[in-house]
């Protein structure tokens, strides 16, 4: 990221508490646009919590307290005036465990647009095909769009979830360990998809798989105990980390 480039996602002194437990501590992060940024760190370091701050999914948990600010494309989204539904349409999210709804593949993909009022079947069919193509799933499911999404394999389900998020035409895609429960082949497919998608989308991926971060991410943020230890270009970070903690983690001395 060159100086002067506006970050697409930005946090300033972001802290978050679950009741008495501090999950994030004064995180300052600037995520560049149209790149893949990986968030790595040991379990429980706040990776997922940080990710969920960008689309305010932490709101669903009781007793969450947030301080500091989060900007999405320059707009502060921590204020109460933010329209959560339109924020979440702009900031798509894919979860660790694939969660297709118990309905047909077609209805799964078009869920977001249908919820925002798109009724026209032709338009919905167009959206479905476009999104499934983006997620590299079209060839596998085009002949059985009306079958239950629950009959897909684990990897296909996860790509369906990516397609479903893309159907909302978001600018930003958040992925929370999207390949953690998949086999290597499915994982590779998803990684290929992500690399292709970064031409159009800003992608943040949480992962505990360092090789994955090294393979796909342009930038990497290393989080530990709720603090942002180091942020930088992935290649530099993996070969020449500035912080001792980062080096220990990357070389496998803990975590």
């Amino acid at each position: 990221m060159t100086q002067g480039d506006d970050p697409v996602l930005e946090t300033r002194e972001l802290s978050l508490h679950y009741g008495p437990v501090r999950a994030l501590a004064e995180v300052d992060l600037r995520v560049p646009g149209r790149r893949i940024t990986a968030v790595i760190g040991p379990s429980g370091c706040g990776k997922t919590t940080l990710l969920r701050c960008f689309n305010r999914m932490n709101d669903a948990y009781p007793k969450v307290r947030v301080s500091g600010r989060v900007f999405v494309e320059g707009v502060d989204v921590t204020t109460s005036e933010v329209d959560l539904e339109s924020l979440r349409k702009r900031v798509g999210m894919v979860f660790q465990k694939s969660n297709p709804f118990p309905m047909s593949i077609r209805r799964n993909v078009t869920f977001g647009p249908r919820m925002s009022g798109v009724r026209d079947p032709a338009r919905l069919a167009e959206i479905a095909e476009h999104s499934l193509r983006l997620a590299d799933l079209w060839a596998e499911v085009s002949h059985r769009l009306d079958e239950s999404a629950l009959d897909l394999s684990g990897g296909q389900q996860q790509r369906l979830c990516i397609a479903r998020a893309l159907a909302n035409e978001p600018d930003i895609l958040l992925l929370d360990e999207p390949a953690s429960s998949l086999d290597p082949i499915s994982t590779a497919k998803i990684e290929d998809t992500l690399v292709r998608l970064k031409e159009r989308y800003t992608i943040v991926i949480v992962t505990h798989n360092l090789q994955q971060a090294a393979r796909v991410a342009d930038f990497t943020a290393f989080l530990m105990a709720g603090r942002l230890v180091e942020f930088g270009a992935t290649a530099r970070m993996f070969t020449n980390p500035r912080e001792k903690l980062s080096e220990d983690y990357i070389t496998g001395r803990f975590g």
Binding site: N55, M57, A60, P62, E85, S86, R88, K89, G92, M93, F95, K97, N99, F101, P102, F111, G112, M115, S116, S148, L150, D151, G154, Q157, C161, R164, A165, N168, S181
Partner: protein
């Protein structure tokens, strides 16, 4: 180990041994299943008596007399020997009692005459005897042996009765405007506010109508009288052993040659009896005829109850599970609903009587039916109040089952929908409620089973022994929510405990019980099938 002798582990005492536990629990399970089987058998066997045609015996006794009847059972004897036989002789008009105990030692000859008939009558219970002769509508005698002529005479009489019923209904229809005018006049006369002018108008209107309708009504009345006269002359004459009995054709519902039936005919006869039982109205203080009004009342009451309880229960469960937090208020609401399920049903009956019948019903009467006071319309027990009372009673069942259904919906679906920009209502309607459907259906079915079997609250809120009219009929507004109704459970209680003729009522009580049982089992099986289908549509892949 220093010593090389094989060591034997001590045998654990019996209670500590796992086998005893398995045995005890298995025996308990067996006992439970056995009790269930016995329950079904007792009810079904006793009910079968009602449907299955019994042979008719003619007994010659030591004193030279003869009796004709169906052997019901052997009565227990006091000294341990053989007790007397209980014989159903029917023909209530002869002795008043249609059962007779006969000492078996006194029987010299017993036979099953081929000409024995059992006649089901609309009035006076069953008539039993040997067929002597028959007098047709035209007054001609049909001799024994001419079965074709007899069948023709019976068919003609049945047609005549149907025609008579039609004409009476027509008479009532033609007369209805006059009846209403008379009713209006009567209401005006009784009310204190009416002035003399209106009263005279109403009286004149009724008189004019009476004059207008007189020729048509008189023609109809004459036709009715003629048919009544013809029917009154026709009869089947039976030899009951002691006397010959004329059974008027006006009352004959069904004539059965009990001793001539083959196995197939018996089965057909039983099936016919079952259909009559289901679809005809009760007679003779509910001990005969069918249970149609009770079945209808039960189904309608349950439907009304479901309409009331389902939205309320599901909405409450959705609020408690999806929206309400985890505070003390929610805890209290939760406990309150659970405890409501344990409140004795008579308490709900009293609540329904005080709140719905007297409270709400009284207010409705004062504001909408003031003309009818002091006779109450909604201020007395009725099917609406009974349904609402049972709706209150079954709310906990629906709430608890729906909450369980909601808990079974994976939270990842809720999160997924929210992350795609669906708002709370959309998430609820599109994702959560459809997936919770099995739980909601379970709640509905449990509520229906409970309501179909409840008696105590219904007795206080509108179930009656005999309702003069169904709550649904052809008269606007077609659904009469204020009417009293019959209910199967209450019907069982009534015929088994409140009947003047215990022996006659017994098969009816068991048949009604069996029907109630079948009804509940059918509802539950339907629920299981529906739930399985819904679950199959919403199954979640593991992993």
């Amino acid at each position: 180990m220093p010593d090389s002798e094989p060591r034997v582990l001590p045998r654990p005492p019996l209670l500590a041994h796992g086998g005893a536990g398995v045995l005890t629990t298995a025996l308990a399970t067996l006992l439970v299943l056995l009790m269930l089987a016995v329950l079904l058998w007792v009810v079904a066997a006793n009910a079968a008596v009602w449907f299955w045609p019994a042979p008719v015996w003619e007994l010659e006794l030591a004193d030279g007399s003869r009796v004709v009847g169906e052997i019901v059972r052997r009565e227990p004897a006091r000294d341990g020997g053989l007790g007397p036989l209980l014989l159903k002789v029917g023909n209530r008009e002869l002795g008043g009692d249609d059962h007779l105990a006969v000492d078996e030692a006194a029987i010299i000859v017993r036979r099953r005459p081929q000409d024995a008939v059992a006649i089901e009558r609309s009035v006076g219970g069953e008539a039993l005897g040997r067929f002597l002769s028959c007098r047709s509508l035209e007054g001609e005698a049909v001799p024994p042996g001419d079965d074709q002529a007899l069948a023709a005479a019976l068919a003609a009489a049945a047609a005549e009765r149907r025609a008579l019923r039609r004409e009476r209904a027509r008479h009532a229809r033609v007369r209805r405007p006059l009846t209403e005018a008379e009713h209006a006049f009567e209401r005006l006369r009784r009310s204190s506010a009416a002035d003399a002018h209106d009263l005279a108008d109403a009286e004149r209107a009724a008189a004019t109508l009476r004059e207008q309708l007189r020729p048509r009504l008189e023609t109809l009345e004459a036709a009715i009288r003629e048919r009544e006269r013809r029917l009154a002359g026709a009869a089947v004459i039976l030899d009951t052993g002691a006397v010959s009995l004329e059974v008027g054709m006006a009352t004959v519902e069904r004539l059965t040659w009990s001793n001539r039936l083959g196995p197939l005919q018996r089965a057909l006869h039983a099936a016919g009896s079952a259909l009559r039982f289901l679809f005809s109205a009760p007679r003779e203080a509910n001990t005969e005829g069918g249970v149609f009004p009770a079945l209808f009342g039960t189904v309608l009451m349950v439907l009304l109850m479901s309409v009331a309880v389902m939205p309320l229960g599901v909405l409450a469960a959705v609020y408690l599970h999806e929206y309400a937090g985890d505070g003390p208020l929610q805890w209290v609401a939760d406990r309150a609903i659970h405890n409501l399920a344990g409140v004795p049903s008579i308490v709900f009956g009293m609540f329904g009587l005080a709140f719905f019948v007297y409270g709400v019903g009284g207010a409705v009467d004062r504001s909408l039916f003031a003309d009818e006071l002091p006779s109450p319309t909604f201020g007395t027990g009725g099917i609406l109040w009974a349904s609402l009372t049972l709706a209150v009673l079954t709310i906990p069942v629906v709430v608890v089952a729906t909450r369980e259904g909601l808990q079974a919906v994976p939270s990842s679906w809720r999160e997924g929908a929210r992350a795609l920009g669906a708002n709370r209502l959309q998430t609820l309607l599109q994702i959560v409620l459809p997936a919770a459907l099995p739980g909601i259906l379970t709640g509905l079915i449990l509520a229906i089973s409970r309501a179909a079997g409840e008696v105590a609250p219904l007795m206080l809120t509108g179930a009656v022994k005999l309702a003069p009219a169904l709550p649904v009929d052809g008269e606007p507004p077609f659904l009469h929510l204020h009417r009293k109704f019959m209910h199967l459970s209450f019907h069982v209680y009534d015929v088994s405990m409140q009947s003047p003729n215990i022996e006659a009522a017994k098969p009816m009580a068991f048949a009604s019980t069996l029907l109630l049982l079948v009804l509940v089992v059918v509802v539950n099986l339907t629920a299981i099938l529906v739930r399985r289908r819904v679950r199959a549509a919403y199954r979640v892949l593991e992993g």
